[in-house]
């Protein structure tokens, strides 16, 4: 993916750019709002990571609003120290697709950027999802693996659906909390892990090759293990 990082703090920008390059993406960097807007408007990016407070007379919100006014629909993720609910709402209302608060874990940032930029593709009326021999029919709400029917509770179904929609990507615990349960708080206990392990019992345990993988220090990923 081609990603634009608009961030004025040298250390944070360096960390993000380096990490994204290591993850195999092409990254451009702007350290002020004006350059950022110029690059975002004149070139094609698959995703933009945008700081809210920027030097150069144009802050993140203005930049995004200007971009959206030009019918530019590039997915944008805010990366900001302004973490209050009102700030997040403002950012999303201005046309942001996701909002990550500093300080952040790089794994979270990477997972969110990848999920966000993938969201646009094939968001059409999908009725079937499939990963390897695991199949999900969204209409009849049935799940099968290797032709064998698997019974899931409604919430387990939604959890699996979310994982399948983001198959091949890292999905963090926070993303699951927000995406599956619509919870915006941070549970102290390992609730998500417990739910995942229950799901794993049902979809992986009876079968030979596991599909649901734990990614250390980051989250989970649903994918077919390469031989």
């Amino acid at each position: 993916m081609r990603i634009l990082v608009v961030e004025d703090d040298k250390d944070v920008a360096g960390f993000v750019v380096k990490g994204l390059r290591e993850a195999g993406h092409t990254v451009e960097h702007a350290d002020n709002g004006r350059d950022g807007l110029f690059m975002a408007a004149s070139e094609n990016f698959d995703a933009i990571i945008l700081d809210r407070m920027l030097p150069g007379g144009i802050d993140g919100l203005r930049l995004l609003e200007t971009l959206r006014a030009q019918d530019n629909a590039t997915p944008v993720m805010f990366l900001s120290a302004l973490g209050q609910v009102d700030d997040r709402v403002k950012g999303l209302k201005a046309g942001g697709d996701d909002y990550l608060t500093k300080p952040f874990a790089f794994a979270e940032l990477l997972a969110r950027v990848e999920a966000m930029s993938r969201r646009g593709e094939g968001e059409g009326p999908t009725t079937r999802l499939g990963v390897g021999d695991l199949e999900m029919d969204l209409l009849s709400r049935g799940v099968k693996r290797a032709g064998q029917k698997i019974d899931l509770q409604p919430r387990e179904f939604r959890l699996l659906e979310y994982l399948m929609r983001h198959a091949g990507q890292v999905v963090t615990r926070t993303m699951l909390l927000e995406g599956v349960w619509d919870y915006h708080f941070d549970p102290q206990t390992n609730v998500i892990d417990v739910h995942i392990s229950r799901l794993r019992q049902k979809i992986d345990k009876p079968f030979e090759a596991p599909l649901l993988h734990t990614v250390r220090n980051a989250g989970y990923m649903l994918r077919v293990e390469e031989p």
Binding site: Q84, D86, R155, W181, Y183, H184, T189, N190, V191, V194
Partner: protein, 503 residues
């Protein structure tokens, strides 16, 4: 002696005098007294004016009427009986006049006196049918008279008047009285001003002394009450209430900063120690990586505490009132019970649920979710295995009560009031992971909704009862939230400025 020295005393005295006057006028007591004297004076003047109008004015009008009637009668006599009849009538009238205040003078066309009790034509009277008030001399006596003259056929002129010296005297008396009254009023007003000022000063002295002491930092002072139960007592009470609240807030801020210093410094110190130790002692990359990972974990904990603190501050500031909407708490409870059931089951804890089919209320769904989640998480965390956690809810016309009860160690009665303070952790909780902010957050959320968090004994265990009004917010809560928000904001700008200075 320097050249400027002789000027000095003069300039100071001349500078002080107007300042002193201005200060006197700035006194509310003096202002009230002056206002009082002004109102009093205006009403006195109005009263005097009306008195004057109704006495002297009436007398004047009566005199005018008498003179006019008199003149009409005399003119009629002249018309019917000629000059001789008029002279006769005049003499008769003069003789009949008991009070001796009627004045007549009839002159021929050459100005010679024909009849009347005035020796000569008074000076300055030259226009007929006009009222004149002039000094006259009558039989050696000087007095004032009101008069007018009429032209009679044949060039004769008749002057008719009345002696008004008595009235002039009355007028002078009234004027003098008024001046005296005014003088007395000014004096009384000034005296009143001083007395009122003294009263004000005495009543307010304690308040200003107390507030000044508070401003200097002595928060133990309180305004004394006089015990009259008057407005000043009311003011004193309000101020004392405010001071109590400020003291409580100040203590809260102090405790929180102490707790922050402790709870944040510890993990930061640990992280720092780990990194430093790893930098100088790690022999393999594996060891180094492990140390860095653990340090990152510690820092994540610090971030968590920060976020919880900010969230409490945000909630207490009432910033999220805008997100209030109609919600059904049943759905919130159902979701959360299901969400945590997996964890509970893993620890062999059963969750009992009992609530009515719907619990409609006005509130912020996200925050109520978090509040219930915190209580539920606590209950599960402190429950021993093979015990149960009970979630139940009740509703009446005004409130919804959510009760979460566990069978764990509970909180000793003495500690319960402090349990909702930031960073407070019971003896038993110290060894379990957590920030000590969970219950504080729940209490803040309850307060924002105008409700309250009650902690009770479940014998054994803890029963947390979240009482939420279904509708309108408690105005007192809003005020308290506002006060608290101001404190937090001030503390934030302060720490922000400190941080900038530090950088």
């Amino acid at each position: 002696m320097s050249s400027s020295a002789p000027d000095q005393p003069e300039t100071t005295t001349s500078a002080i005098r107007p300042v002193r006057w201005r200060r006197l006028l700035r006194s509310a007591g003096v202002r009230f007294a002056v206002l009082y004297a002004l109102v009093f004076g205006v009403s006195t003047i109005l009263l005097a004016a009306s008195l004057r109008y109704s006495t002297i004015g009436l007398l004047d009008r009566q005199t005018h009427e008498a003179i006019r009637t008199d003149a009409r009668g005399l003119a009629a006599h002249f018309k019917t009986g000629g000059l001789s009849a008029l002279v006769l009538t005049l003499d008769g009238r003069i003789n009949e006049d008991i009070n001796e205040n009627a004045i007549y003078l009839l002159v021929d066309p050459l100005g010679n006196r024909i009849a009347g009790n005035l020796s000569r034509w008074p000076q300055g009277i030259d226009t007929p049918q006009v009222w004149y008030q002039v000094p006259v001399e009558r039989s050696g006596k000087r007095s004032h008279a009101l008069m007018r003259f009429y032209d009679l056929p044949g060039g004769f002129q008749l002057l008719v008047g009345r002696d008004v010296s008595a009235r002039t005297q009355l007028r002078r008396l009234l004027r003098d009285g008024l001046i005296w009254a005014l003088a007395a009023m000014v004096l009384l007003g000034a005296l009143g001003a001083l007395i009122i000022r003294g009263l004000f000063k005495r009543a307010l002295a304690d308040i200003s002394a107390t507030t000044r002491a508070i401003a200097r930092g002595d928060l133990t002072q309180r305004v004394r009450r006089s015990g009259h139960g008057d407005e000043f007592d009311e003011l004193a009470e309000t101020i004392n209430d405010m001071l109590d609240r400020i003291t409580k807030l100040m203590n809260g801020v102090r405790e929180v900063s102490n707790a922050i210093a402790h709870d944040l410094r510890t993990p930061i110190t640990r992280a720092r120690a780990r990194l430093e130790d790893a930098a100088s002692h790690a022999r393999t990359e594996e060891e180094l990586r492990g140390a860095v990972d653990r340090a990152t974990g510690e820092l994540d904990g610090v971030v968590k505490v920060f976020q919880a603190l900010l969230r409490i501050a945000e909630i207490e500031a009432g910033a999220r009132r805008s997100a209030f909407a109609n919600i059904d708490l049943t759905l919130v409870l159902e979701d959360l019970a299901e969400f945590f059931e997996a964890v509970a089951e893993e620890r062999h804890i059963a969750i009992d649920t009992r609530w009515p089919p719907d619990l409609p209320m006005v509130g912020d769904r996200d925050m109520l979710q978090q509040a219930v989640a915190n209580l539920l998480e606590n209950a599960i965390k402190f429950s021993p295995p093979d015990h149960r956690v009970a979630i139940s809810a009740r509703m009446d016309a005004a409130d919804i009560e959510i009760e979460i009860a566990d069978e764990g160690p509970g909180i000793p009665e003495a500690d319960r009031p402090r349990a909702t303070e930031r960073f407070y952790r019971g003896e038993l909780a110290r060894s379990t992971p957590g920030t000590g902010l969970g219950l504080a957050l729940v209490a803040a959320i309850a307060q924002l909704h105008g409700g309250v968090l009650r902690l009770e004994d479940n014998a054994p265990g803890l029963r947390a009862v979240l009482v939420l009004p279904r509708r309108a917010l408690n105005p007192e809560a809003t005020l308290r939230i506002k006060l608290w928000a101001q404190t937090v904001r001030k503390a934030e700008t302060q720490s922000g400025a400190d941080a900038q200075r530090g950088a």
